[in-house]
Amino acid sequence: MLPMFFWAFVVGGIICVIGQLLFDVAKLTPAHTLSLLVVIGAVLDGLGLYEPLMDFAGAGATVPITSFGNSLVHGAMQEAEKHGIVGVVTGMFEVTSAGISAAIIFGFIGALVFRPKG
């Protein structure tokens, strides 16, 4: 269990450092950086490389935004196995639903409860 925390910390940290380098060295805006990381996640899953990383680093691979691209591809591929090419569209959000739903639900609750600062 403890090694898992360690690897989650290290791998998650490294992915964030890649993001920071894209900020500072490549001078990308946060929106460009995050979009790029999501695309990288999707491509890595397409190549079958993200799953082993998740087994190895646990939350270190599932918490960074790259896992969003990975789970989009995953959902699409799950349905595609059953329904062919149509499944690519119908299954897209199958796995990612939690993150997007949570963001919308909590975002709306936040708007009801909190007031803008400054």
Partner: protein
């Protein structure tokens, strides 16, 4: 034509001036901070994941989903109380890259635009910052999955 070359020269001069006065970004320090903050957020995510595995019968593979939702909930609390802004100032990409950063982008947009009303303000702007992540994520996933499916169906 002469005007254009003039403009170009002016632009060049401006760029040089800008370069001289731009503060050098402390890349190494920023990277260390991003590593620290991002790593800690992922370690917390790991703790949440174990929580779901031991108490709600999720497996190592499926525990990622409720973990994501929980992390977004944490982001709501931290954003609402103004803590996430400070964390972002310190951690840079370390706070933006984890899914809490995605949650923060959605939630802060929702809170910020509530004065414009719930439909046009909150509803219309909730994905103002995070929308590009969803658009490019979905489209790239579509292309990747399409290629993979065609590959498999052709007998790969």
């Amino acid at each position: 034509m002469a005007n254009q070359t003039n403009d170009n020269a002016a632009q060049k001069a401006y760029k040089q001036l800008q370069g001289k006065h731009e503060t050098q970004r402390p890349v190494l320090k920023n990277c260390l901070r991003a590593f620290l903050v991002g790593g800690i957020i992922c370690a917390i995510g790991q703790a949440v994941m174990y929580f779901y595995i031991y108490f709600f019968n999720f497996t190592e593979q499926t525990a990622g989903n409720p973990t994501t939702a929980t992390m977004v909930f944490f982001a709501l609390l931290l954003t609402g109380f103004g803590v996430y802004d400070r964390l972002a100032q310190f951690g840079g990409a370390g706070s933006a890259v984890p899914v809490t950063g995605f949650g923060n982008a959605v939630i802060s947009a929702a809170i910020e635009h509530r004065s414009e009303g719930y439909v046009l303000g909150v509803g219309g702007n909730i994905f103002k910052l995070a929308g590009s992540v969803i658009v490019f994520g979905v489209f790239s996933a579509f292309v990747v999955a399409l290629i993979k499916t065609i590959f498999i169906q052709l007998g790969g």
